[in-house]
Symmetry: C2
Subunit: 387 residues, 2 copies
C-alpha cells in the first residue's frame, strides 16, 4: 500500500504518470452524474437520491468498483476456461458457446461493495480505503447462464472421490483480479449464480465486465468477478490478494498489525443494511398533519434474505415508525434485490431533526447501533444505523 512514486525523481514521476495513463487507456467514459472516489482505477458511486429514484438502477448510474484498469478484450478472441483438479484438458468456451449452449436466465440482484458507507466509519475513527458514502450499491436485472449448468455440462458433475474435497469455485479476471466463493453456493440449484453477458437488457457495459461477469447473488460484490476468463473448482479459496488479504472482518479493538488475515473469515454473504436517501443532510421534507413525509431509502440483506421491516426515527432512536416497503417480490430465500422504503414519521417539534433508519431481515437480524462497535481497520461491513 506504499505510494509507488514515493522515491521517484521528477522525471521518473512523469514517466510513471504516462505509463499509468497508458494502462488505463481502455477505460470507458463514465456518466458525469457518478460521484468519483478514485480515477485510476475507476471507483465511483451512485448519487444518493438516484439510488431510490428507480428500483432497477440504469446501467450508466450503476456504481463502479474496479481494482485495476479495464482490460481490453477482443470478443472474437475471448475464451472462458473451466478447470478442476480431475480434469486433464480444461474446457474452453467462447462467448457464442456460452450464449448458445446453455439456457438463459434473468436474475434481479443488488450488488454492494464491502466498503459501502466507509466514510461514516472513517469519520468516527480513521480507516484506510475508498471513502464511499452510501452509493456503492446498485440493483440490476442480469442476463446470463447458470454457472451450475456451465460447470456440470462442460466438465460434468463433481466425481464422488472429489465431492468432499471441492469446497470453492475460483474466478479469474482478465485484468488480474481474482476471488472465490464456496462451491455449495456455486452449485446450489437455488443459488442463481450466473455467468452474465447482459445487464438491464443491454450488453454488459465495459465497466461491468464485458463480455462475461460472474454474478453471485446475495454475496459481497467483490465475488462477482468481472471480465472472467477462467473458472476453477478447487479445494482452497482463491490465492488472490483480494481473497486472502482483503475483504475480511476484524474486531473493533484490533489494530492493523493485530489483524490476522490468515485466521479471519472471508466476507461472502453480507449483513442487513439500510440507508436514508431522501432527504440528504440539510435538506427538508414537507410536514403534513404533524408528520414528516417523503422520507425514502433502501434496505438490503445478503444470502437471499428479504427485508421484513424498516424502522425510522426522528428522535435519535427513542421511538420508531414502520416504513412502507416496496419489496422485489422474489421467492422466499432468493430475495437477491433490495427493498425500497418510504416513511412518514410524526414530528413534535419545529426545526432540524436527525433521521435514523434500521432494517430487519427475514432471519430477524437487526443492524447494530453504533459505528464504534462494528469498527474494523479495513472499514468494511459498515452496517450501523444510518443517521
Amino acid at each position: 500500500d506504499q505510494d509507488p512514486t514515493y522515491n521517484a525523481t521528477r522525471d521518473d514521476q512523469s514517466a510513471i504518470t504516462s505509463a499509468l495513463e497508458r494502462l488505463f487507456e481502455n477505460d470507458p467514459i463514465r456518466d458525469p452524474l457518478l460521484i468519483s472516489r478514485s480515477d485510476r482505477p475507476c471507483n465511483a458511486e451512485t448519487p444518493p437520491e438516484l439510488l431510490t429514484r428507480d428500483f432497477v438502477t440504469p446501467n450508466n448510474l450503476f456504481f463502479v468498483r474496479n481494482h485495476l484498469p479495464v482490460p481490453e478484450i477482443d470478443v472474437e478472441e475471448y475464451t472462458l476456461e473451466i478447470d478442476a483438479p480431475w480434469v486433464k484438458n480444461p474446457i474452453t468456451l467462447t462467448l457464442k458457446d456460452l450464449q448458445r449452449k446453455f439456457e438463459h436466465h434473468d436474475v434481479m440482484t443488488t450488488l454492494q461493495c464491502a466498503g459501502n458507507r466507509r466514510k461514516e466509519m472513517h469519520d468516527a475513527k480513521p480507516v484506510k480505503g475508498l471513502q464511499w458514502t452510501q452509493g456503492a450499491i446498485s440493483n440490476a436485472i442480469w442476463t446470463g447462464v447458470l454457472l451450475k449448468d456451465v460447470i456440470e455440462q462442460s466438465i460434468g458433475p463433481v466425481p464422488k472421490e472429489w465431492a468432499d474435497k471441492i469446497k470453492h469455485v475460483q474466478f479469474h479476471g482478465a485484468e488480474g483480479y481474482g476471488a472465490s466463493i464456496p462451491s455449495h453456493k456455486a452449485l446450489d440449484p437455488r443459488g442463481d449464480c450466473l455467468l452474465t453477458f447482459a445487464m438491464n437488457g443491454s450488453p454488459l457495459p465495459k465497466d461491468h465486465g464485458w463480455p462475461v461477469r460472474a454474478l453471485v447473488p446475495g454475496h459481497v460484490a467483490a465475488r462477482s468477478v468481472k471480465w472472467v476468463t477462467k473458472i476453477t473448482l478447487a479445494e482452497d479459496e482463491s490465492e488472490s490478494h483480494w481473497q486472502q488479504r482483503d475483504y475480511k472482518g476484524f474486531g473493533p479493538s484490533k489494530t492493523l498489525e493485530e489483524s490476522d488475515y490468515s485466521t479471519a473469515v472471508s466476507i461472502q454473504e453480507m449483513p442487513v443494511q439500510s440507508c436514508v436517501t431522501v432527504p440528504q443532510p440539510n435538506e427538508t421534507v414537507p410536514v403534513v398533519e404533524g408528520r414528516a413525509t417523503g422520507i425514502k431509502g433502501f434496505a438490503w440483506s445478503g444470502g437471499g434474505r428479504g427485508i421484513v421491516r424498516v424502522d425510522v426515527s426522528v428522535d435519535g432512536g427513542k421511538t420508531w415508525t414502520d416504513a412502507k416497503l416496496t419489496r422485489p417480490g422474489q421467492e422466499a430465500g432468493k430475495e437477491w434485490a433490495w427493498t425500497h422504503w418510504e416513511a412518514s414519521v410524526p414530528v413534535t417539534k419545529e426545526g432540524p431533526v436527525e433521521i435514523v433508519c434500521k432494517a430487519v431481515d427475514t432471519s430477524y437480524n437487526e443492524q447494530p447501533r453504533d459505528m464504534e462497535s462494528v469498527y474494523n481497520v479495513r472499514g468494511v461491513l459498515v452496517s450501523a444505523w444510518h443517521r
Copy 2:
C-alpha cells in the same frame, strides 16, 4: 391469554384444577436441575453454567418448551400421515416404517426458543410470556430420517403443476400444536430437516417428542414440532394459532393493539446470539497477570450460519477482546450447532466489572446493542448484547 380461572367460584376452581391435573398426567418426571418457568405445561430451562459444561447437552438437561400437555402415544398404534393437495390417499407410516425404509442420519443441531432471554427484555420494559433467562437453548445430536426422503419416497416429488404453488410444509402434533416451514427448507438436500426418533443416542425422551419429532436445523425451535403425526405439503402456512398469531416480530414502538399479525413475517431462521454463562452475576473469576480468565459462553446463529468471532468487553463495550472459539466443525452453510467460547480479558481496575459479549456470524451479522431498539410486545428475538 385471559386467566381461565378468573370468573370461577371456589368449587369450579377445584374442578378445573383436577381436570388440569388429569390433562397433564402423562407428563414425565423432569430433572430437578432444570429451572422451571411453568409447570403445566412444562417449560423449563437449562441452568446457565450447564449450558457450556458439555458441548452436547445431556437429554435430561435439554430445555423443555411444551405448549400443551405431553400426549400419551402408544408406539404400536402410532402413525405418521403424509399428505399433499394432489394426493388422493394420504400415505400412512408406522415408526417401524420410518426406521426401516429410509436411510438414517445423525445431525448435531442447537435449538433455541424464540423467547430465550425474555426476562432481560421484560426487565427493560414489561413483555408478556415465559420469563426465560438464557437457558431456553440446548444442543443435541439427533438421529432420524431425512424429511425430504420420506416425502419424496412416499408421495413422490412435487408434480410440475404444483411446483410453484407448494410453498410450505405443515407439521401437526398429536397434542394439538402445529407449525410450518418453507418448502424450500424442507426439501433442500442441504437443509438436513429430519424426522427424528433418537437424541444423543437414546430414544427421544417423552418431553422431546417421542416417538417422532420434526427437526428443522437453523430455525426457531417452535418449528421442530414434537409428537408429529401428520405432515402436509401446502400452499399456505399452518393455520395453527402458533404459526398465525405468535412467533412473529414487531417494531419497538408498537403496542399489542398495533401489532398486526396478519402482515408480520413468521420467525423461521433466527438472528445471531451469544451469552456469558460463566461467571454469573456476583460470581468472580480469577485474575491472572492482569487478565480476567475463564469467562465462558455460547454463541449461535440461525440458517446454518457459523460464528466468526465473539467480542468480550469488561468496560461496557469501549474495548473488546476476541474470545477463543470451539466451533462445531460442521460444513460451511450447515453450521447448525452452537459455538462455545472462552475469553481472558485485560482488566485495569480492582473490583466488580460488567462483562458484555456480542457475536458475529458468517454473514457478518452483529448483535444489536440495546434491548430498547429490539423491544417487541411478545418479547421474542432477544438478541441484544448480553451483559
